[in-house]
């Protein structure tokens, strides 16, 4: 999503998404499938519940000693011959990667799927510097061809139907291709093989980084992660600082719940463990390995409202079950991370002003927390975020005044009663067949789609007098 599009208010972006027939078809199919797969996976996994609790504890314990684990990780990566870089901001992270590439004369970069690199808009920066980035995850490849942004944490092209993908491939690769996922995958694979061999640098994210062994862990389903980390002579991994975990034993806990939550798999097709560059006598692996540990707003939330959001494994389960995400998809949110957790991450990365409207893009139904492998209390943090919007006067003045007067009404029973009666009078012209079908001003949106019941002729408190006996 370009910045230009962000000028369109969120309500309007959501509205457009609702009216995009292709998006609706693609989204509905994919999110429903993910939801079902996840559900079935956990039903067949009775230990799942205890492991989720355990995973949550590990995350919390790690955050409490984050500096210790990060140092341990860095020491171990360096001991293995890798280089560790610290990036306080996204800008710094981008700068480090660009410098590494330029100093080494890199022309072509292959990438495996990484939200962290999306977060810092790395591809744009590389292109700007005359370096060609090639996305090698099928979904990422699709959206790179389409010059779009991912609309889902694990399924970046979830917003496209297979028909649209076939059209896109046919146009970009200049030959007619059928809307058959198998054919299209094969074509993409053919295109990508060449790139893997030509690339000088492979860039990945990190699903986990194990402190006591210095291992960077990548979880993928297409095997492209393996090629990105072994074929090019330089491997750069970019991780958010919260991705560190203490030990391999902890990794086992996460490996058992992450794929189940993401795609319903018992384990992903590939789990790649990277420990430094190629060592003498080894057959493959890069000559150089660089790990970039990025803060970019994270540490400021260690003691903040959004602390729990740092538990996030980026599995996407909360997106798939979110009634709002399921309707509008990821692009409408307007930022790298979408869905319920995306709202929190957007606030973390871009500040509270960025979520003035987004903070309300949730009915607080709680499905996200229920689905989250580490049970992040997203609804609670959304409510806290809304509280900040009022306290920091980011919420529109009119809204704040309305809610504050509303509070006055609710704490003054006489006023409450008078307003109830006033409502009864004011609604008269609008009542038809015992319902309100078309109301003006801020209730218009509601009655555009559904009826409202009128304020009752006699309120319960009025009827209570007869019931009292």
């Amino acid at each position: 999503m370009s910045v230009g599009e962000l000028k369109v208010p969120f309500v309007e972006r959501a509205h457009r998404a609702l009216n995009d027939r292709f998006l609706q078809e693609a989204l509905n199919t994919a999110t429903t499938r993910f939801m079902t797969l996840r559900h079935e996976a956990f039903q067949a996994f009775p230990q799942g519940e205890a492991l989720r609790e355990r995973a949550r504890e590990i995350k919390e314990a790690t955050l409490q000693k984050l500096d210790f684990y990060l140092e341990q990780l860095a020491d171990n990566v360096e001991r293995l011959g890798g280089h560790v870089h610290w990036a306080a901001t996204g800008d710094e992270a981008r700068g480090i990667i660009l410098r590494l590439a330029q100093e080494r004369g890199v022309k072509l970069v292959v990438k495996s799927k990484s939200m962290a690199t999306e977060e810092i808009e790395l591809n744009e920066a590389l292109e700007h510097a005359g370096i060609t980035p090639v996305e090698t995850d099928l979904g990422e490849y699709i959206i790179q061809l389409a010059r779009e942004k991912p609309s889902h944490i694990i399924a970046p092209a979830i917003h496209k139907t297979k028909g649209q993908v076939a059209e896109l491939f046919s146009r970009e690769l200049k030959r007619p291709l059928a809307a058959d996922p198998e054919v299209l995958t094969k074509v993409a694979r053919g295109e990508l093989r060449e790139k893997f061999l030509q690339a000088d640098m492979g860039i990945t994210g990190a699903n986990f980084a194990v402190a006591d062994t210095g291992t960077v862990v990548l979880i993928t389903n297409e095997g492209n992660g393996r090629l990105v980390t072994t074929l090019p002579r330089i491997h750069v991994a970019l991780m958010g600082m919260e991705k560190v975990i203490p030990s391999m034993t902890d990794l086992m806990v996460f490996l058992s719940i992450l794929p189940r939550s993401a795609t319903g798999q018992k384990i992903s097709s590939y789990v790649t463990l990277v420990r430094g560059p190629r060592r003498p006598g080894e057959m493959d692996g890069p000559e150089e390995f660089h790990l970039i540990v990025m803060d970019n707003g994270r540490s400021s939330q260690l003691a903040g409202t959004l602390r729990e959001a740092l538990y996030c494994l980026r599995c996407g389960a909360c997106l798939n079950v979110c009634p709002v995400y399921r309707q509008i998809g990821g692009h409408a949110y307007g930022y790298t991370y979408s869905g319920p957790i995306g709202i929190l991450l957007t606030a973390m990365l871009h500040g509270n002003h960025a979520v003035r409207d987004l903070a309300h893009a949730s009915s607080l139904c709680g499905a996200c927390q229920e689905a989250c492998p580490v049970k992040i209390d997203i609804p609670r943090m959304l409510i806290e975020l809304r509280e900040h919007l009022d306290r920091e006067r980011i919420a529109p003045l009119a809204e704040r005044l309305i809610f504050k007067s509303f509070a006055r009404v609710l704490t003054t029973p006489a006023l409450y009663r008078v307003l109830g009666r006033l409502g009864r009078l004011l609604q008269r012209p609008f009542v038809k067949d015992g319902r309100l079908g078309a109301l003006p001003v801020f209730l218009r949106g509601w009655t555009d789609h559904r009826d409202l019941p009128p304020v009752a002729e006699r309120s319960f408190r009025e009827r209570w007098r007869e019931l009292e006996r």
């Binding site: 309500v11 959501a14 509205h15 609702l18 009634p323 709002v324 399921r326 309707q327 509008i328 903070a359 309300h360 893009a361 949730s362 009915s363 607080l364 139904c365 709680g366 499905a367 927390q369 229920e370 409510i383 806290e384 975020l385 809304r386 509280e387 900040h388 919007l389 009022d390 919420a395 809610f403 504050k404 509303f406 509070a407 009404v409 609710l410 704490t411 029973p413 409450y416 109830g420 319902r435 079908g437 801020f442 209730l443 949106g445 509601w446 555009d448 789609h449 559904r450 009826d451 409202l452 019941p453 304020v455 009752a456 006699r458 309120s459 319960f460 408190r461 009827r463 209570w464 019931l467």
Partner: protein
């Protein structure tokens, strides 16, 4: 009866103003079950809309007066999962700065019940005679289901009614799209979510879509009446009280 169970009604603003018949049904039903019912008449709203929109100081003011209003109630019964959740789960936190009031809020929370939970857990799920007949399906309201962890009490009560057939609603645990001010802020997203709910409800062949939350009722019945559906959205209390509810 020697010592009747006593319950104070927290009818909620939506029932008071828009669905008084739900309150009436609840009174008649509870009385039939031998409960002595009272209604502290200075009540307004539990403050949930304020709380959810982030107006926590204001919500705390509402909580403070509600806690005082129900200080002497033996039980408090609420015809709405979300309002019961607010009182039980959020009042104590909102009032924690004042230790005495915080403790009172904890106390109130432990004495407060959503209607179906009250009938099952406090009254011991007695047999209920109702002249209500028909095929019904049940929608889990989010706060009752995920906030209070309740999915069984309402179903148990419905299943035991002789003239009522309960059919499961596909996606019963999915949100109806109401979400309080959410439905006003993002009306078309809210309506799109509702659409799926109503399609599922209609596909069950049920005559009535039953819920335990006035918010969901407002959303679902608004959608059903707009599309001219033959399905009616009703509150559990109306089913249990039958024709007593007018």
């Amino acid at each position: 009866m020697a010592n009747p169970v006593r319950a104070s009604l927290l009818v909620t603003c939506l029932v008071d103003l828009f669905y008084p018949e739900v309150g009436v049904a609840m009174v008649r039903l509870l009385r039939r079950l031998g409960v002595s019912v009272d209604f502290p008449s200075n009540q307004t709203c539990c403050g949930l809309p304020l709380f959810n929109s982030g107006y926590h100081q204001e919500a705390a003011r509402v909580a403070r007066r509600t806690v005082r209003l129900f200080a002497h109630s033996e039980h408090v019964v609420v015809p709405s999962g979300s309002c019961a959740w607010m009182v039980k789960k959020e009042y104590p936190g909102l009032l924690k700065d004042d230790p005495a009031l915080g403790a009172q809020a904890e106390g109130l929370g432990s004495r407060t019940y959503e209607l179906s939970q009250f009938i099952v857990k406090v009254l011991g799920a007695p047999d209920i005679a109702t002249d209500f007949r028909g095929r019904v399906t049940y929608h889990d309201s989010c706060h009752l289901l995920r906030g209070l962890g309740e999915s069984q009490s309402p179903r148990q009560l419905l299943r035991r009614l002789p003239g009522v057939e309960l059919v499961e609603l596909p996606g019963a645990d999915q949100c109806c799209g109401f979400g309080g001010s959410f439905s006003v802020r993002l009306p078309d997203v809210s309506a799109a979510i509702l659409k799926k709910k109503l399609e599922n409800a209609e596909a069950t062949g049920a005559d009535c879509l039953v819920a335990c939350d006035a918010g969901c009722l407002m959303q679902m019945s608004g959608g059903l009446s707009r599309k001219g559906s033959r399905v009616r959205a009703v509150h559990l209390a109306q089913v249990l009280a039958g024709s007593d509810s007018r």
